[in-house]
Symmetry: C2
Subunit: 199 residues, 2 copies
DNA sequence: ATCAGGCTAGGTCACTTGTCCTAATTCGTC
DNA sequence: GACGAATTAGGACAAGTGACCTAGCCTGAT
């Protein structure tokens, strides 16, 4: 296997292990075992554990950007695009109940470790926030676009945290229904307001 | 100092360190340094690190119960009692921005470690949920009481997670205002519904 | 076919971890 | 003041950590 492939495999396995077990609790031995290479061999690919973390964050940023671009490229309406975001809670519900949200839990762990990479990790939230705000602007919601986007982030993070604590799948379903209802009420309000201005 | 005092001091310092640095990342050496005793001396008070964790969770459960009891004992209206809960976000905003919510981050870490104490930690959430549901019932909201309580937990957890990631104090203020507005709208709806039934 | 470079395995390093032990000290009670 | 129990300090222990090294293996370009 070319080095390029091994390097990517290390990043991929580390990503999963950092998510499922936490960054600090994941050792080189764990990653080596998952990849199937020897421990000492790591330093040919990465100088330190922090460098792996940075590569993992870069990978997550890249994949998040790609996912958002894909959602953007599809011919869907802004409402359905936003629903794509919300439905991640259902798609990933098993992992979320077991390990929480990958973004939120990484940010919180890095904050506690006072790790310099914490701001880069938070950029993933920034990607979602900006993309969601763009959807709300596409719906004609300008002034409140960012606040609405943050509200969706807040809501989904809360659902992830509590479904992780309570391990309750039905709760996720109910909350997603609630978020969808809220979204539609926001859209209806916006349409009513537009009507009001036009009339 | 009596053993009882030392034991409590260990629990207290461990509580803070587990919150600010995480459970796994906090070593006996850290706790010993914070308490001002020698490392080896620990096993006279606690058999293992897990036993300290259990004691810390017990302490948090006890203190949470006491706080909720105090809020309950005051002559305040249910609305103001609920606001006491919400305003923890503002009171503790500095620590929340730095370390997240003590309950949420502990639950998430223990879930990743697959630690047996994770369910006991989640009981703290349970205390808040049940108490908040009680307040909503006191407002005449019966069927939806628990859903409303969970919504408050979700919202506050989301605010804690995102203010931790973005380190944005103004965001907390805006969200608390939003939560208060939502609470009042829930109360108004309930009163309107009551009127409707009576008339 | 050769040979240089990328790649790997396995070991070593100093250090920290949770756990445990023992000898000494303190303290309340008589 | 003396005794016994509670408490303490300071180490020792094996295991595991991130980091590093070196000797060899493969592979692809010449």
């Amino acid at each position: 296997m070319p080095a390029h492939g091994t390097r990517n495999l290390i990043i991929e396995k580390a990503d999963t292990l950092f998510y499922e077990g936490g960054f600090a609790a994941t050792s080189f031995a764990d990653i080596a075992a998952a990849v199937g290479i020897s421990r000492g061999n790591f330093y040919h690919h990465f100088k330190s554990k922090d460098e792996i973390l940075n590569a993992v964050i870069s990978r997550r940023l890249k994949r998040t950007r790609k996912m958002l671009d894909d959602w953007q490229a599809g011919g869907a309406q802004p409402r359905d695009r936003i629903l794509s975001f919300i439905h991640m809670l259902i798609t990933n519900r098993i992992k979320i109940m077991a390990f929480g949200c990958p973004v939120g839990t990484l940010c919180s762990e890095l904050a506690k470790l006072d790790h310099e990479a914490q701001h880069r990790a938070a950029e993933i939230f920034g990607l979602f926030r900006d993309w969601l705000a763009g959807q709300f602007r596409a719906l004609g919601i300008d002034a409140q676009a960012e606040a609405r986007a943050m509200h969706l982030l807040v809501w989904s993070q809360g659902v992830a945290a509590l479904s992780n604590a309570f391990h309750d799948e039905a709760f996720i379903q109910r909350e997603v229904a609630g978020i969808t209802q809220w979204l539609d009420s926001v859209i209806v309000d916006q349409n009513n307001q537009k009507e009001h201005i036009c009339s």
